[in-house]
Symmetry: C2
């Protein structure tokens, strides 16, 4: 797993520009020769890349233009690439081709290359991508080079499970607070955190600089809770409640619809049964259909 | 909420063919006059539609060709439409336009119309869609006209939360069994179901005719557990474990990557901060960016 504080590797491919960098120097190979000493993060906004090389140009140009936006579909695949790269790195694999990445992620190679090109990462023909550097590029793009404290609203079964879910903290998302309006839950401890009343939300969000909220309330409480999160200053919401939230422009919402996922699987199951029955009716042997 | 056993409404628009029906009779209006008495499900494969009308053609033609496949992206939006339609129906709303559906689901109207056209549902110009009949069409397409028993593998925090999650049973997914290999968990009760050893999986899957498995194990146990599910005869897996599963062709997998969702939100948060900082540096007031 990639810790959020992972240091960028010294061995690196060149970065070909991610929209906020305009570095064009080539990787030359050999320790300290033409290799970028990536990267010093300036505030949370700009990335400056230093080269130590033989040609005298030691500092890369850094533009201060707003970051280029990655299309949603490509963005949604970056966590998957990152996870696979983490596994490769743990297995001491240092180079990976787009074909290998495609196989490991269930994508096709052209899509992998296209997705990674948004990071300014094009790999090296015949060699592929440097596993550690590509992982570093994705982490940087996703903002995973520092911790993100989050709050969970709703301390029911799902909220408790999320608070206890090791996968969040493991990936740099610490739990700054768990909130509920149910007095029977307030004061209890979940995931090592004391449940507080929703009235305390603003104070915690502001004092701990929280920008991400996880919504795990029942559907009927979700919009009110979302309003409270937005008023408190949270800019992004991960919504597990089975409602479509209405939020002001500028607030990001990702929705996880657990039952909806099962409904999609039941479509495939019904389709499989239907096709098999049709084949049987036609006298052909039943076959499974792929999803 | 739509119960899985909801009866189709008698008032219906015509169905214009969903690939497995070829009914072409027009809706005439007036009780029992030209209205389809939808639908008798024959096995789990074909839908036969009867008309009682004034013109003497009482039985609609039913084709036995395999069902047409809905594109994955459109399919993934059907549960959302269904949820919104359920809320409209609860609010005694009987007609809805594609524009209203678009607003309620955060989509655009053209996409809504296109998605629903895969169901053979085109609405009526100037009137829109019949809420109950459209919901019925989606339920039928998703195979929600009967219960789907499922098994949960992994009785840790997440597995327990999923077993306790009311949203599954509410939507017709009953929990036929919860399994673990950890002897300290086997024998305990979660979600009203006794945790059994994974060795009992096949027996439960076969005796209860289970076709959907939910995988809530740690990453390192996931592939083995998936193999057991497949061997037991499960055709669809909802995977919460942070690994890419390798399954035989014909087995459907949907992945829910909880930490990955947060990583996508941290991208938006970082981008927001970055853009604001760039604007501040340029002397302009900071603004939020929309996701």
């Amino acid at each position: 797993m990639w810790a959020a504080s992972a240091k960028p590797p010294i061995e690196g491919e060149e970065t070909k520009g991610t929209g906020h960098e305009t570095c064009t120097r080539r990787k030359r190979g050999g320790d300290g020769v033409g290799r970028p000493h990536v990267s010093e993060v300036i505030g949370r906004t700009l990335t400056r890349t230093f080269w130590s090389g033989v040609e005298g140009h030691n500092v890369c140009v850094v533009s201060d233009s707003p970051r280029r936006r990655i299309p949603e579909a490509a963005l949604s695949r970056l966590p998957l690439y990152l996870r696979v790269l983490g596994e490769l790195s743990n297995g001491a694999v240092s180079q990976v081709s787009s074909e290998q990445l495609a196989e490991l992620t269930g994508m096709n190679a052209a899509k992998v290359r296209k997705d990674l090109s948004y990071l300014g990462s094009y790999g090296t023909r015949g060699v592929g991508y440097d596993v550690n550097f590509l992982a570093y590029q994705i982490q940087r793009e996703l903002g995973l080079n520092h911790d993100w404290p989050l709050v969970i609203v709703g301390a029911g079964n799902l909220g408790q499970a999320l608070a206890n879910y090791g996968g969040f903290t493991e990936r740099g998302f610490s739990i700054a607070g768990v909130f509920d309006t149910d007095e029977s839950k307030v004061g209890g401890v979940v995931g090592g955190v004391r449940v507080r009343h929703l009235d305390d939300l603003s104070q915690v969000v502001q004092s701990k600089n929280v920008s991400i909220g996880v919504l795990a309330t029942p559907g009927e409480a979700a919009q009110t809770a979302a309003n409270r999160l937005v008023r408190a200053g949270v800019g992004s919401i991960l919504n597990f409640a089975p409602v479509v939230l209405s939020v002001p422009r500028g607030v990001s919402v990702r929705k996880v619809d657990l039952a909806g996922e099962l409904q999609i699987l039941s479509y495939y199951e019904q389709r499989r049964a239907s096709n098999n029955a049709a084949r049987e009716a036609a006298g052909a042997p039943a076959r499974v259909v792929s999803a």
